[in-house]
């Protein structure tokens, strides 16, 4: 190796070393808070490691933003006060966007919205219902085809009694989407499902994740239940879950997160992670369009 070439190599190596130091020094640290008790979104394995859909999501979007994200584990109850105390920069803990919370914090765009499903016994008439199967309908922006499917579902539910949970967004959504269908309101999801198993109601409205869970549990007990009709999102079902920032602060950081969420939605990363951890695709296609 001649001298000139060696010099070139050395200086190239120095350049690389210099560049990587600059990169590491430049990398901002963003502190995110989560609770670590909400499987499968964010939870803790017995060795104390934070795992779930949201830790994976953060690894992905923070890489896109070229920032170093650190978790701060904080009890869910004290999370918004601790945010205002500047103990961390944002909350990322399956926090649903609600009007009430939006008065206290600034939300990013939602990164996940679990679809809502109708569920019935696989042996009955509703269990054989096929229209809209496998599709997802966005209630806020329905095409004529979507409206026809919703019409089919409404017709199938004509003589049925459907269980909904009081505290969720389901009650409002159901009355708006299927007016005139007989509804039974429950304080607790568990009681609703017990009544469904006992045949006191013909169908129930529930989140896609817990629906899957319920179906597999019933299968073990030898009973067949199915989610029928299309998966439903948007509209009265709410906007989904998002990061929360201190009110009126961190606008730039919020925009960076929004951009990264849009990218991760557009290339299907969020969709993949969501299916991996939750079993359903909760990514929000409207995000990718913007």
């Amino acid at each position: 190796m001649n001298m000139k070439r060696r010099m070139l190599l050395v200086s190239a190596a120095m350049l690389v070393a210099g560049a990587s130091t600059v990169l590491a020094a430049d990398q901002r640290v963003v502190k995110l808070a989560t609770d670590g008790t909400y499987a499968p979104f964010n939870y803790t394995d017995p060795s104390g490691k934070l795992v779930g859909f949201e830790p994976d999501l953060v690894d992905d979007i923070c890489k896109r933003m070229n920032v170093k994200c650190e978790w701060v584990i904080q009890n869910f109850d004290g999370m918004i006060p601790a945010l205002n105390e500047k103990r961390f920069d944002a909350i990322l803990a399956s926090l649903s966007i609600t009007d009430e919370r939006a008065k206290a914090v600034d939300f990013s765009i939602p990164y996940y919205a679990g679809p809502t499903r109708l569920i019935a016994s696989g042996d009955g008439k509703l269990g054989q219902f096929k229209s809209g199967e496998g599709s997802t309908i966005l209630l806020g922006s329905m095409s004529d085809k979507d409206k026809a499917v919703i019409g089919d579902v409404a017709a199938a539910l004509k003589d049925a009694t459907v269980g909904v949970e009081r505290a969720s967004t389901h009650a409002k959504f159901f009355e708006e989407t299927f007016p005139g269908v007989k509804v039974k309101i429950y304080d607790k999801g568990e009681n609703m499902m017990l009544d469904l198993v006992a045949g006191r109601i013909d169908a129930a409205v529930d989140g896609a994740g817990s629906t899957l869970n319920f179906i597999s549990e019933q299968e073990k007990a030898g009973k067949k239940f199915v989610a029928f009709g299309p998966a439903l999102k948007g509209g009265a079902l709410g906007k989904g879950v998002a990061l929360a920032f201190r009110k009126g602060e961190e606008t730039e950081l919020r925009e960076e997160f929004n951009k990264a969420i849009r990218e991760a939605t557009a290339d299907g990363s969020i969709s993949k992670m969501s299916v991996k951890w939750i079993g359903v695709d909760g990514s929000i296609p409207e995000n990718a369009a913007k």
Binding site: D35, Y38, A39, P46
Partner: protein, 239 residues
């Protein structure tokens, strides 16, 4: 599958995490209780003092702390204390970052709560000492410190012990409130484990058993202490 494998020690179970959490709970409770008793005694003295100002300040303190939810005290110290700590740090000429850490804020909250309750217990116990004994001691020409050490303190402790045992149980349970700060004590560990494994029943039952074990052991210890401080009383302990 046996659900008890979730309680195993090692990387696959929560046993070691629960043991750590339980130890942390005991440490917070012990520090809070000890600090509370030490602080409670002068507060009780101030409550009984002939000085109007001391009486007023201590009166306000015990009324406020006992009158507001314990959770609020913890919120105030952990979340609301930021500006106050900043002010203190500035006054001391320190410009670095200041924030209450969960452990100190938690222990301090328990101390402040315990001090208010134990001060009232001590006050009641001092007042239960028959006036005649104080008069007799004075007649013997005892100095104030001899009177305090030989007559007041030993008898006060005997009267105070049953209620102090009560305060200890209160303190032990208040540590669970410290979990809102994210400090990993028993209750927080239980929450994390219950949510992460989706087995709330198993873990909440475990928490109940651990707390009951703590109180059972401390009840025995306080019974022993009561017996010890009642040893010179005619009729003895429990009569």
């Amino acid at each position: 599958m046996n659900p008890l494998h979730l309680l195993a020690f090692g990387p696959t179970g929560w046993g070691d995490e629960l043991a750590y959490g339980a130890a942390m709970t005991l440490v917070i409770a012990a520090l809070g209780f000890a600090g509370g008793l030490v602080l409670g005694l002068p507060i009780a003295a101030a409550r009984l003092s002939s000085n109007v100002v001391l009486r007023a300040i201590s009166g306000v303190y015990v009324t406020v702390v006992r009158g507001v939810p314990e959770l609020l005290v913890i919120y105030l110290l952990f979340f609301g204390g930021g500006q106050f700590y900043r002010y203190v740090a500035d006054a001391l000429g320190y410009s670095g970052a200041v924030a209450a850490d969960a452990f100190s804020a938690g222990v301090l909250a328990v101390i402040l709560i315990c001090a208010a309750y134990s001060a009232e217990v001590f006050r009641g116990a001092f007042q239960a000492i028959p006036k005649g004994q104080i008069e007799a001691a004075n007649a013997f020409g005892m100095t104030r410190s001899t009177l305090f050490c030989r007559i007041k303190l030993p008898q006060m402790l005997r009267y105070a012990l049953p209620s102090i045992a009560n305060v200890w149980q209160l303190v032990l349970k208040d540590t669970a409130l410290v979990s809102v700060t994210g400090l990993v004590e028993l209750m927080r560990t239980i929450d994390v484990a219950a949510g992460s494994t989706r087995s709330p029943f198993l873990f909440y039952m475990t928490a109940i058993l651990i707390f009951l074990a703590f109180t059972a052991v401390s009840n025995k210890a306080f019974e022993g202490a009561e017996r010890h401080f009642s040893r010179s009383v005619i009729g003895g302990y429990g009569k």
